[in-house]
């Protein structure tokens, strides 16, 4: 269980996140949405501990993360960074093994448990056949699965993802998110992810948190948050929302497009 309470983050005198309180249960996916600059990435970084919070707490299973060392924290919470071109000539296996840093000794010698965790992560992300390949040779979608596998190898109860589908095409977006969905349910992971595409959000998320200017505007199910008046106001763009004919999930259209097609 991931609990964020009254979290406040400032860069100098400028407050970028104020009074954020959220909760994610095991097996649940929380999507962070909001216009550019709303603070989604900052929230992910603050929860992961890379950006210090001014006040407030991040608690995982009753443990306040601010009391943990960098190494202890990496055993509780793993981060999948934004998709980007990965350089270097490490093999997939080596890269995923680096996710075990928090369990390794200083020398980086791998134990049998480390290898088991790496094998499991490669299997979960369907990367076994790529294990010996160099990460630089993989496609964008495959590289993103490597970063996911690296985070899974950390064997944490909480998984954070920062816009993991940026730069990926539709097929890879869907594959990656379906994989995260499956892992959340099977491994009982508490997942929090920043996502841009609102239709992907309603396809994958159990809960949605809408951030605007560093404040939490709405927090609820996709049906509760992804509503025409809420989104239109937050994004300052008129939108229309229809329900998916089978699942009932909200589907969003910018209004201009609808008018134009008539």
């Amino acid at each position: 269980m991931l609990t964020i309470s009254s979290l406040r983050v400032a860069y100098g005198s400028r407050t970028v996140l104020r009074d954020i309180s959220l909760e994610v249960s095991p097996g649940e996916i929380l999507a962070l949405i909001g216009p550019n600059g709303a603070g989604k990435t900052t929230l992910v970084r603050a929860v992961s501990g890379t950006t210090p919070a001014v006040s407030g707490q991040v608690i995982v299973n009753g443990q306040d993360l601010s009391n943990l060392s960098v190494t202890q924290r990496a055993r509780v919470l793993a981060v999948v960074p934004q998709a980007r071109q990965l350089g270097g000539a490490y093999s997939v296996e080596q890269a995923v093994m680096m996710g075990r840093t928090a369990y390794m000794s200083w020398l980086g010698r791998e134990s049998e448990a480390d290898w088991a965790a790496v094998r499991l992560a490669l299997q979960q992300t369907r990367l076994e056949s790529f294990a010996r390949r160099s990460i630089a040779q993989l496609s964008g979608g495959e590289q993103q699965r490597v970063l996911l596998a690296r985070a899974l190898a950390q064997s944490t109860p909480v998984l954070l993802l920062d816009e993991p589908t940026n730069h990926l095409d539709l097929q890879h977006q869907t594959n990656l998110l379906s994989l995260v969905r499956k892992l959340a349910e099977e491994q009982r992971l508490a997942v929090m992810m920043a996502l841009h595409d609102l239709n992907l959000v309603s396809f994958i998320a159990d809960k949605v948190a809408l951030l605007v200017n560093g404040e939490l505007k709405r927090f609820g199910t996709p049906q509760e948050v992804i509503r025409a008046e809420v989104i239109s106001e937050a994004y300052r763009t008129p939108v229309e929302i229809v329900s998916h004919p089978v699942t009932g999930a909200p589907i969003i259209f910018p209004q201009g497009v609808l008018n134009h097609s008539k």
Binding site: V70, A74, V79, P81, Y90, M98, G108, R150
Partner: protein, 341 residues
């Protein structure tokens, strides 16, 4: 078969280079004889000496200390080069190019001018001065070159050149003083020729063993750092501690090399690069292999330096610069495509 056994290959090459380095000189001493002379030193082994007495003297008091110092220097420069490359996430970091060698040189010159080594204790003090100079330089260059948490190629080289040039200028300006000791120190430093005799070897040895030993342990940290500091932290690496560890050990190792062998460039660039091409980027083996490969490479350069203009000897720093500069340009052209390692 050697491709699969990097340690075996590099160790064998080093062994050959060591023997050759002892064998070559004004008189050629056959490797077989060298091994017998060395074996004779082992307590309990008494061989029938079938070699001229002068051979033992040449080997034990001239060639052996020289060879050991060259090997240690090459190992130190290559392993610290590899470590700086990992730390800066940039394949062109080299103790010479990023100005650390010049900074260490300045420190060493100041130390020597304060107290020219006349006994072993004096020799132990030089690396201390060089170490202070090296750490100060690396911190300055690192902070000057850093842009948004990255150390790009252009700013790294520019900051390194600028700070290195400044340190060299300060060193040269010390020449204006009429102090004889400073003159000796500077001509040694810029000459790029190692000191002679056992004293510098004995003084270098403890620092080198500590420095290179600790560098060999930093492989995993450097691997994780390749993903950037933020991700390294998220993976559980205590990033700040790791950075201090690498800076201190790499600077110590560089400083000792500079203190006793003068400024010798490009070894720290070429050796890790070749090893990366052959055996990949895993720093856990890149650093130990650079130690083995670096000593071999500098021994070869040193033999060239002794042979090319025989009977006079070229400073080994000139040989490495002549071979290294074209190599550097070649990497630079390749690196254009992939500026960040």
């Amino acid at each position: 078969m050697f491709r699969k056994r990097p340690y075996l290959l590099t160790a064998l090459l080093l062994l050959i280079a060591l023997l050759l380095s002892i064998a070559l000189g004004a008189v050629f001493i056959p490797p077989g004889t060298i091994l017998r002379i060395l074996a004779d030193l082992i307590p309990g082994v008494a061989l029938d000496p079938d070699w001229p007495e002068s051979f033992s003297a040449i080997i034990l008091s001239v060639r052996l200390p020289h060879t050991v110092l060259i090997a240690l220097t090459g190992a130190a420069l290559a392993s610290s080069g590899a470590a700086y490359q990992g730390l800066f996430r940039n394949p062109l970091a080299d103790p010479y190019l990023i100005g650390v060698a010049a900074g260490a040189g300045l420190g060493a010159v100041i130390a020597m001018s304060l107290n020219w080594p006349t006994n072993l204790f004096g020799f132990y003090l030089i690396p201390v001065g060089a170490f202070i100079g090296a750490v100060a330089t690396v911190l300055l260059v690192y902070n000057l070159a850093r842009v948004n948490g990255l150390v790009p190629l252009t700013t790294l080289i520019l900051a390194g050149v600028a700070v290195g040039a400044f340190a060299s200028a300060v060193t040269s300006s010390l020449m204006l003083r009429t102090d004889l000791q400073i003159h000796r120190a500077i001509s040694f430093l810029l000459g790029g020729s190692p000191m002679t005799g056992w004293d510098p070897v004995l003084a270098a040895l403890p620092y080198m063993l500590i420095g290179m030993g600790l560098l060999s342990l930093s492989g995993h940290m450097l691997n994780v750092l390749q993903f950037g500091e933020e991700e390294a932290k998220q993976m559980g690496l205590a990033v700040d501690r790791a950075k201090v560890f690498v800076i201190v050990t790499a600077s110590l190792t560089t400083a000792v090399a500079v203190a006793f062998s003068g400024v010798i460039g490009f070894v720290g660039l070429i050796v890790p690069h070749i090893i990366r091409l052959l055996w990949g980027p895993d720093y856990r083996r890149l650093i130990p292999l650079s130690i083995l490969g670096g000593s071999t490479m500098l021994l070869l350069a040193d033999m060239l330096a002794r042979i090319l203009l025989a009977p006079s000897t070229l400073p080994v720093g000139i040989v490495t610069a002549m071979a290294g500069a074209p190599f550097f340009l070649w990497i630079l052209r390749r690196a254009k495509k992939e500026v960040f390692w």
